[in-house]
Symmetry: C2
Subunit: 124 residues, 2 copies
């Protein structure tokens, strides 16, 4: 449908919208992303890596690897295991972990605003 008349239609009015994904890397390796931050939040809620993994339908090994990756990269660990063991003892989020969750959520909020502004400006 061509509509010469009006010049440019706005994306917000035409069904087009901007979407995206952001993450934080440290020397080329992913440090934090949406999935990792949800995992941190689930550990906070569930009190263990195993339960957090289950709630996300993620293998314990994968969850453990993600936690290990975050802990290795952070200047102080984000997750502290109270007991080790294969079945996974209890785990808690440290102050640094809480801060990481908060900071990433604020970054996500600013990114959402960026996407909303860009959607409003779309010319198609």
């Amino acid at each position: 449908m061509k509509k010469h008349r009006s010049v440019k239609k706005k994306g917000a009015l035409t069904g087009y919208s901007c979407h995206g994904r952001i993450w934080i890397e440290n020397k080329g390796e992913t440090f934090l992303g949406v999935g990792r931050v949800v995992l941190l939040q689930r550990i906070q809620e569930e009190g263990s890596i195993a339960a957090a993994a289950r709630s996300m339908e993620m293998s314990y090994k994968h969850a453990w690897d993600l936690v290990d990756s975050m802990n290795r990269q952070a200047s102080s660990p984000l997750v502290e295991s109270s007991k080790g063991g294969k079945g996974g003892g209890g785990a808690r989020i440290t102050k640094a972990g809480e801060q990481a969750i908060t900071d990433f959520m604020e970054l996500q909020r600013r990114f959402k605003l960026f996407l909303e502004r860009e959607t409003a400006e779309l010319k198609w």
Copy 2:
């Protein structure tokens, strides 16, 4: 602008950086993204969908499907085939296609600035 002096280390100084990816959807379907825009640019350079696909190591069918998806969704086609045929005749980018490339690249540029600003503010 608050400047505490010491307190928080900047991401830019510590190796952390923000990364991301953006794309444009139309009613839940991808309309434009980095890969699609590179495809448009290659069609512009190569003069055919087949040659553009080859230059990206993409199957002709996949490239054709992407072009079809963009053309169906745009208010006027982004790519015009001068001849059809299975082997793929010539193809050119329309004015609307040129505009889509330009607009997406400007969006990418603003997104890059957003990521740079956020990287500079990282607290880890």
